[in-house]
């Protein structure tokens, strides 16, 4: 890595994060905040190390349920998005239902899912899917709607079918929207999986935090939160890298 890159992209976020933790630590020690209200970072990191085995074990469950839910949302969102963007009638038929569906708090759906599928990973996967597919649908449909009408004329004058126009122009053109929505969706999927676990599950970070809370082990609850934040950043970064890889042409202004 070049020295310049280090000063620009690594040092600022790293410095800010460390400063945040230091500030937190000072506040906790200075005002003698009880462990059960807000544990200091030192307590949290100690708990993280002490309970690393169950934390890793449960994180793994949360991670893979999130990823499976996210994968389903990606495929489903893309297909529904294309359908919605395909024709005005399909749009007006299913869009209100989608908006209504998206407005239902997913916490309220989890008990039903547990009723149907029992305690386990399935409700978490489905919740992750349900919460994260909507932004993908909206973005893909928006991307298709922004297809240049002149370019459509060019294609139609060549005798191109609707499918041709979609394949050659519409879908490639909406990929930046699609990948943009994946960054939102991946964090939402994560939220969905954890929400489901806190409502009812036998494994996962959410379940671990719930148990720790019941036992007043607040430092473990915070350790769980820290792990969630960390995994969230990793998943977001992974999606952002994939985005850049596939739609570099849309970022041309930034890397020239």
């Amino acid at each position: 890595m070049k020295r310049e890159d280090f000063y620009q992209t690594v040092l600022p976020p790293l410095g800010f994060t460390i400063a945040l933790f230091v500030f937190w630590q000072i506040v906790c020690k200075l005002f003698n905040v009880p462990l059960t209200i807000l544990p200091a970072p030192s307590d949290i990191f100690a708990a993280l190390w002490q309970y690393r085995a169950p934390i890793i074990d449960n994180s793994w469950v949360t991670l893979w349920t999130t990823l499976v839910g996210f994968a389903l949302a990606t495929v489903g969102g893309l297909l529904i998005g294309i359908a919605v963007g395909w024709h005005k009638n399909i749009y007006s038929a299913i869009y209100p239902v989608l908006v209504g569906f998206n407005s239902v708090p997913k916490v309220a759906v989890v008990p039903v899912l547990i009723l149907w599928f029992g305690l386990g990973e399935v409700p978490a996967i489905i919740t992750a899917f349900l919460i994260s597919f909507f932004p993908i649908v909206v973005n893909v449909a928006t991307g298709l709607a922004t297809t240049n009408p002149e370019l459509e004329d060019v294609m139609r004058a060549l005798g191109a079918s609707k499918l041709d126009i979609m394949r050659k122009v519409g879908i490639p053109g909406s990929l930046p929207y699609f990948f943009g929505s994946l960054k939102v969706a991946i964090t939402l999927a994560f939220v969905g999986a954890v929400v489901s676990e806190t409502v009812g599950a036998n494994k996962g970070i959410g379940k671990l935090m719930l148990d720790a809370q019941a036992a007043f082990q607040v430092q473990i609850v915070f350790a769980g939160l820290l792990v969630l934040a960390f995994l969230g950043i990793v998943l977001y970064a992974a999606t952002a890298i994939i985005e850049k890889r596939f739609t570099g042409w849309a970022f041309r202004g930034q890397n020239r």
Partner: protein
């Protein structure tokens, strides 16, 4: 006399339906001969672009008869090349891949391009060379200047050897020098390929320099108020734009188009 390729007989065209319909074109009668270069000029919003959409079969006429090669038109023509003021190149494709796009749509190239991509690519590269884009074939559109993008856009409209080349203010966004350079490029392409061209523009000098016949349209709803045959012999050099004969034609056309002076 060469055979006529496009015939418009008393054509009217409207957007919208019923009482809310807005007339864009009224009672237009004209014919375009094979290999002819026509230009349509007129004030903005007079239906010049609508006429283009109509002839390419993208929008049906409200009344009147439209035929191409003697057959009535009732759908997109399938062998029209179009270029607009914006180059509309696909940013995710290189220059040469952009040019190949029509060949992925139009038969018989469509079924061949999979197996013969190399030959087709060579053809596209040659076309790009002929408009002065050598060395830019593998560049992305945003790496080209506005004039170069427009050249590429015209190549894309030509690659499948269309019957008609439709140009809607293709040089409108370019600076004066680049524009004149591209006039010459277009002049040479047309002379070489004998393609039928319909150029929509509001640059009268451009119209007179390039076209065999210039049609002047009135304000909306557009009617043809003047048909002017440009008898300046070809090949025309940019120098002709400074001759009295040329200026007279431009002047006469200008007087046909309204507006305050």
């Amino acid at each position: 006399m060469a055979e006529s390729l496009v015939e418009l007989d008393n054509i009217s065209m409207a957007y919208g339906k019923g009482d809310a319909a807005v007339r864009a074109i009224e009672d237009v009668t004209l014919s375009i001969k094979k290999g002819e270069f026509i230009a349509v000029v007129g004030p903005s919003g007079c239906g010049k672009s609508s006429l283009m959409k109509l002839i390419s079969g993208l929008h049906p006429p409200f009344s009147g008869q439209l035929s191409v090669e003697g057959r009535p038109v009732n759908g997109p023509l399938k062998s029209v090349g179009m270029a607009f003021q914006a180059s509309n190149l696909l940013p995710w494709r290189t220059c040469v891949d952009n040019i190949l796009l029509p060949l992925e749509i139009v038969q018989p190239h469509r079924s061949r391009i999979g197996s013969q991509r190399a030959q087709y690519k060579e053809k596209a590269v040659n076309l790009l060379h002929s408009v002065g884009l050598q060395g830019f074939t593998e560049k992305f559109p945003w790496q080209l200047s506005g004039g170069m993008q427009q050249r590429a856009s015209i190549c894309r409209a030509l690659i499948h050897e269309p019957e008609i080349l439709m140009l809607d203010e293709p040089f409108g966004a370019l600076d004066a020098f680049t524009r004149e350079e591209l006039w010459c490029t277009l002049r040479d392409i047309q002379a070489q390929r004998k393609v039928t061209v319909m150029l929509v523009t509001h640059d009268l000098r451009e119209a007179v320099f390039l076209a065999d016949t210039v049609y002047v349209m009135s304000n909306r709803p557009g009617r043809i108020v003047k048909k002017c045959s440009v008898s300046i012999p070809r090949p025309r050099d940019l120098e002709v734009t400074y001759t009295a004969e040329f200026q007279d034609i431009v002047h006469e056309l200008r007087s046909m188009i309204g507006g305050k002076h």
